[in-house]
């Protein structure tokens, strides 16, 4: 009975959240557009993103090229669209990796306390002792300039967030009623953690994940902006901005600024989505 009653309530609450603030709806729409771009990029791009045409270099936005062309005559819109797959892929991988390692570590730390807590907290503190982007730079420099290492570096610098949230949530639930009864039912401590506590952490973690995605995209783009990870001619939003940076001074703004705007829009929609998710799952924490 409660289950079927809960679903319509969830749905109506979802509808409320979507319609209460029109910005939320916009965010969801943008998010869907992004996912489409990532999924079907090469198919919907009007031109081949890698096709050069020097005679059409540095043309401003026009009917033929909505975002204009770059120094090699490539269509910038196509490159932006195709870049979505890479950027989102990088961010999703990094966040997934970060979550897969950070959440269990944090949950164990919060649940068991003691030396597990001390070790894990020390790990998180050590990571956070650095300005995070700098640490990512250092990691990629140390491990080699590849895409995989971009993902690993971004994942590492995001670990502390997942560790902290999981730890706090697990700590709160450590002595909760349902946990006590699970213990009494004969579950081992690990069993209780895995089967009972961890699933309860997923809603607040979901909020963290979506808020984090925006930041992960920014990180990946920032690293490629300074030349790490992605090599030309691979299209990626950060690298597109880097390629266009020098033309700002001569007024060809579209080469750098339009990819940058796309990047910003992507991050913005993830942030808005994260806020909406937080409102949906835990209205107490609204700012």
């Amino acid at each position: 009975m409660p289950a079927s009653g809960a679903t319509p309530r969830r749905v109506s609450h979802l509808r409320y959240v979507l319609t209460e603030n029109p910005v939320t709806l916009v965010a969801v729409v943008m998010y869907c557009v992004l996912v489409l771009m990532a999924g079907f990029g090469p198919m919907i791009a009007p031109y081949d993103p890698l096709a050069t045409a020097p005679e059409r270099a540095l043309q401003p936005p026009s009917a033929a090229h909505w975002f204009g062309t770059d120094a090699l005559g490539r269509d910038i819109l196509s490159r932006c669209i195709v870049a979505a797959r890479l950027d989102l892929g990088l961010a999703v991988s990094a966040v997934a990796l970060s979550f897969a390692i950070g959440a269990p570590l944090g949950a164990a730390a919060g649940f068991f306390g003691g030396w597990a807590d001390r070790v894990v907290s020390r790990l998180a503190d050590t990571i956070m002792a650095f300005p995070l982007f700098v640490l990512a730079m250092g990691i990629v420099a140390a491990m080699g300039n590849t895409l995989a290492n971009i993902v690993i570096a971004t994942a590492i610098i995001n670990l502390p967030f997942y560790i902290r949230v999981a730890r706090a949530e697990a700590n709160v639930r450590r002595s909760a009623g349902f946990v006590e009864s699970a213990r009494l039912a004969g579950n081992s401590e690990w069993g209780v953690l895995v089967r009972h506590v961890f699933p309860n952490l997923l809603p607040p973690m979901a909020v963290q994940v979506s808020l984090n995605m925006g930041w992960a995209i920014l990180n990946a783009a920032g690293l490629s902006f300074i030349g790490l990870g992605v090599r030309p001619p691979t299209p990626e939003w950060g690298i597109l901005v880097a390629e266009g940076a020098q033309y700002i001074l001569s007024g060809e703004w579209w080469v750098a600024l339009l990819p940058g705007a796309v990047l910003m829009t992507a991050v913005f929609s993830f942030n808005l989505l994260g806020d909406a998710l937080r409102d949906l799952l835990d209205p107490r924490r609204r700012t």
């Binding site: 020390r122 503190d125 050590t126 956070m128 002792a129 650095f130 300005p131 995070l132 982007f133 700098v134 640490l135 730079m137 250092g138 990691i139 420099a141 140390a142 491990m143 080699g144 925006g214 920014l218 783009a221 920032g222 902006f225 300074i226 030349g227 790490l228 950060g238 901005v241 880097a242 266009g244 940076a245 700002i248 001074l249 001569s250 007024g251 703004w253 750098a256 600024l257 940058g260 705007a261 990047l263 910003m264 991050v267 913005f268 942030n271 808005l272 700012t287």
Partner: protein, 337 residues
């Protein structure tokens, strides 16, 4: 109070150690041959072996670590392949540029975000509150390198107000004699108004771009904190006692509201130091960030390690400074040791 301060300082030591350990591991954890990395791409086999012996890379790891720490304490961060100079010297000469940029960015951010947050709280729901919310949400999503480029295009190319983004000072001027290393201070000390304006013009755009990105956490925290304080019991008492509106606002509400804001500065600095690197690239700012990027591109790794270490140490010290500042401004800290 002194005891508390000492305790905080001691508490920062494990973080310093962590920074040193991590930077050590970063270079020794290189896949492949660390010696080859340090020797550079164009090195011959014997040069690589020479480097290996020189850096002690054939020794066991713990011994390497001890050597590393000893070298650090003596100020030896290795040699830069591209400039041929000791890394420590290069970093030291470029550090003031980065620090000045970061601090000016912070100053700009605070001078905009604080009043914005206060006004948003005092006129809750009003247009300034909505405006603040939009600005802060947008700021968080803007990639800082994009903001830098956007501002450059707008103010240099379109409006012609800003000078060309070629570094700290227009080549027509010569830099002020170095007292602090910060051009703004040093130029002010010389009393040369024109020079000072020239320096200010160069730093405004890069610092502004960085500031835009950190407006959000500061304004948001100020607003939330102000709202909470304005509806608190003691503000109600102050009003009930007939104290004037501005007294209540500044002396009672704001001072209390600022306390949580100070604690967000740690996160703000993390972001500022990180975005420092990106902005230095966009504006050709001769700080440690652009030094690190240039070295990275040239596969010169000792400077990068030195850079990461410097940033880490700087950040730990900044956090310590914030902790100590908090000790000074909140008398209640004696309650929790």
């Amino acid at each position: 109070m002194m005891r508390l301060a000492l305790w905080r300082i001691v508490g920062a030591l494990p973080n310093l150690l962590g920074v040193v350990v991590i930077t050590f591991l970063l270079t020794r954890a290189l896949p492949g041959d660390p010696a080859a990395f340090f020797a550079g791409q164009a090195a011959s086999n014997e040069a690589i072996e020479q480097i290996r012996a020189q850096l002690g890379l054939d020794r066991p790891l713990p011994e390497q670590f001890v050597t590393y720490v000893v070298d650090l304490l003596m100020g030896d961060l290795g040699q830069s392949l591209t400039t041929g100079q000791p890394v420590a010297a290069e970093i030291l000469s470029r550090l003031p540029a980065s620090v000045e940029l970061t601090l000016v960015a912070l100053a700009i951010a605070i001078s905009i975000a604080l009043p914005l947050g206060v006004l948003a709280a005092v006129h809750q729901g009003g247009w300034i509150d909505q405006f603040a919310r939009v600005i802060t949400t947008a700021g968080v999503s803007l990639p800082v390198f994009f903001t830098g480029l956007l501002l450059t295009w707008l103010f240099y190319f379109v409006l012609g107000w800003a000078p060309s983004p070629i570094g700290r000072l227009d080549p027509a001027f010569s830099p002020p004699p170095a007292v602090t290393g910060a051009y703004l201070i040093d130029a002010a000390l010389t009393g040369d108004g024109e020079l000072w304006v020239a320096c200010a013009k160069q730093i405004v755009l890069p610092a502004g771009a960085m500031a835009l990105a950190v407006l959000a956490p500061i304004a948001r925290m100020t607003r939330a904190s102000m709202l909470s304080v304005l509806s608190s019991d003691f503000v109600r008492t102050a009003r009930a006692l007939g104290l004037r509106g501005d007294t209540v606002l500044v002396r009672y509400a704001l001072r209390n509201a600022l306390l949580p804001v100070v604690t967000t500065l740690g996160m703000v600095f993390s972001f500022l130091l990180g975005s420092n690197v990106l902005i230095e690239k966009v504006f050709a700012w001769p700080g440690i960030g652009s030094f690190a990027i240039d070295s990275l591109t040239a596969s010169d790794y000792a400077p990068v390690q030195g850079f990461v270490l410097t940033m880490g140490v700087l950040y730990v010290l900044l956090n310590l400074a914030i902790d100590l500042l908090y000790l000074v401004i909140d008398p209640r800290v004696v309650l929790q040791p």
